[in-house]
Amino acid sequence: MSLLRTLGLGGVFLLWFLGVGVPVFGWLSQVNWGGVFQQLADSSAWSVAGLTLQQAFWSTVWSALLGVPLGLWIGGIPARSPRERSWQAWTFGVLRFPFVLPATAAGTAYLGLIGTQGLLTHWIWPGSWSYSVKAVIFSHVAFNLTWVALRVAEERSQIPAQLEEAARVLGAGARLRWARLWLPELLPALISSLIFVFQACVVSFTLVLLLGGGPPVETLETSIYSQIHLSGGDWEGALPFALLQMAMTLFPVVVSSILSQSVFRETLSRQRLRVSNGGGASWKSPSLREPPFDWNRLTATGVAFLIGIAPYFIGIVDAKASVLRDRDLHEAVYRSLRLILISLPVAMILGVGSASGVARGARSAQVWDRWMARALGLFVALTPGFSALVLCLAFWRVYETWVDPFEGSLLAIGLLQAIGVYPLIHRGLYPAFASPQTRLLDAARVLGSSPWGAFWSVEWPRLSPVLWSMTGLAAGLLLGEVSTVTFFKGESGMTLPLLIAHWVRRYRFDEALMGSLVLISLAAGAVWIIPVLAHKGSRMFRKDSE
């Protein structure tokens, strides 16, 4: 096992350095800093940076204002009986769904809602929001508020009911319970989710391009794209935009890294407490007669669902089904699926290796393990600070002997897509890796099981559902990825999201909407089907081996 672990960790370090470390630091070492500072003094980049900051700030604020109360409400769903637990799982699943929807599909649908001919434009807000900052903020909020709600709801649902009850018995009203019990528990997740939303809005590409036009609403990310692809590969012109964007995204990373120490402590503390409390279950008595559904929460979840995904379906009703027979569409789907065969395994290797390495290092007494854990944790914190286009730009500058964005490179796309997704996989897997069933593993070993046998019978049944669901989630996200494909696609390398964007730019909205429907179906299928199939396969395999 230790050989496998060493190989896995070596793979993570190698891939991260190939995909992030070498490109970024290699590129920065090539920069003529004197020239850059001169460019920054004259550049229009500052006004673009101002607009980027403005839209990211307001998008984050609105996402918090709507997402936090929603998350608190939904997270309060009791989970005592099997029916309540399945209801809670279903609600969280609904909140997760918009998050994995491809940005291209979302952007296309939002156009159908707030574009010139959009429903809201027609019935509620006269005057199109198209190509305005308002439209960009609207789309970012609609796209991200469920993420904030989900994180808050997950944390809220993890607060042991017993603590809430103890606070009530001691006389605490709602305000004190919020301030002394909920807030300290929720704050780390809330801060990290808001930083995530802010970063996502700063580096947002597809939504800004579709809803903002990029120009008229131009952000740092779309400016980098313009400099590279529309100004004949002017990478030096893109540099001020890239540097300002890195400063903007890495600042919260530094803040979150400082906070992550307390987040880490809090998480471990809670896990320890749950273990010492026998898993935090407070209801030992026989199950109650099942209480009725809470219709208020159903309504709240329904609203989140509608804000998140209804726009996708509004325009699709009128779209042409004949588009489904389009040859371009078939080829784009094929290319997207082929690309996933490269990027998904790399993303999973990175995510699993990173999460298990950090979790193991945090528990280990060995200096080497702890050092590795810190390094891997730093990688996870740093990586979302580089936008996909900045990484592509750096990658190209450093490896230009081998890759040329205008000729296309499947390997570059695969690696960079995986790099972009792996921090999320890490975050999803970390809690599972951080709480191994040590006592049960010891028991299995004492009973004569080998290390692998003990892992297979104790840890695997617990880890595999999380692993498969993260695989599905990663596949869904990778299917909708646009920036890297845009940068490195060859003339014939149009994937499905790119084809949709291509149709939108040519005002072929019917085709774009049908393409979006296909993309949504593929992403949703990946998110839901991969975990189910993999879990069933794993169970069959276990039965055979037993």
Binding site: P160, Q162, L163, E165, A166, A167, R168, V169, L170, G171, A172, G173, L176, R180, L181, P184, E185, E266, S269, R270, R272, L273, S276, N277, G278, S282, K284, S285, P286, S287, L288, R289, E290, P291
Partner: protein, 229 residues
């Protein structure tokens, strides 16, 4: 009687729970029965936590009907089996939580704490995280956290189950002294006859009957007995 439970009824999936008993000021009553028979549910109902919509009957504390009073206004003290200490607060934060919640003036905090903190040897632990405490220390913090709020009834849910034999004896003695000092009714849940001998002045044993036929009913009533210890 200080605590009166009359015609209490609560339906569960596979049985109905009924209770009818009274507890005086100087009594320490043990609810004795097998795991999962509904002992904790009685304590939760007295404390007002859980879903009171499913309950009927009356719960009176010092002559006042409390069955529809929110738990934060009932002035009962409940020590949870797993102590339920707040992990985000240190020992001091946990101890003053109830005082703050009930709006006790800050000037009174020290005097209320002083009464119990030294008796239970908690002063050196005041700044410690509750996660660093041993089982016995957690139990003492949970007990003092409840005592400083001066509850009208003291409820203990399997109070000694997390402690070893030596600590059990010590803890039982401390609780006995506290109850004699405060003169409030004490109801505790246990399935350990040893705990009954250590602490109880009276025992309410669970009766399981089928009424109506085919539907099991768990019944706590006045058919109690004095422990032999």
């Amino acid at each position: 009687m200080s605590l009166v439970i009359q015609n209490f009824f609560r339906p569960f999936a596979d049985f109905d729970l009924r209770a009818d008993f009274e507890v005086g000021n100087q009594e320490r009553v043990a609810l004795l029965g097998a795991s999962g028979c509904g002992k904790t549910s009685i304590l939760r109902a007295i404390a007002g936590i859980g879903d009171s919509r499913l309950e009927s009957g009356s719960i009176q504390l010092l002559g006042e009907e409390i069955s529809r009073v929110p738990s934060e206004k009932r002035e009962v003290g409940l020590v949870f089996q797993d102590f339920a200490l707040f992990p985000s607060l240190d020992v001091w934060g946990n101890l003053i939580f109830g005082l703050q919640a009930r709006g006790v003036p800050r000037e009174e905090w020290d005097s209320r704490l002083a009464r119990w903190v030294d008796r239970f040897a908690l002063r050196p632990l005041m700044k410690a995280s509750v996660l660093q405490l041993s089982g016995g220390e957690k139990q003492r913090v949970a007990l003092v956290r409840t005592l400083v709020t001066q509850p009208k009834v003291l409820l203990l849910d399997e109070p000694f189950s997390a402690l070893d034999a030596v600590l059990r004896e010590e803890a039982a003695r401390a609780v006995r002294e506290v109850q004699e000092l405060l003169q409030v009714p004490l109801v505790f849940v246990t399935h350990d006859p040893g705990d009954v001998e250590r602490l109880a002045t009276r025992v309410l044993r669970l009766n399981a009957v089928c009424n109506p036929p085919g539907r099991r009913c768990h019944f706590f009533d006045a058919q109690s007995y004095q422990p032999q210890g």
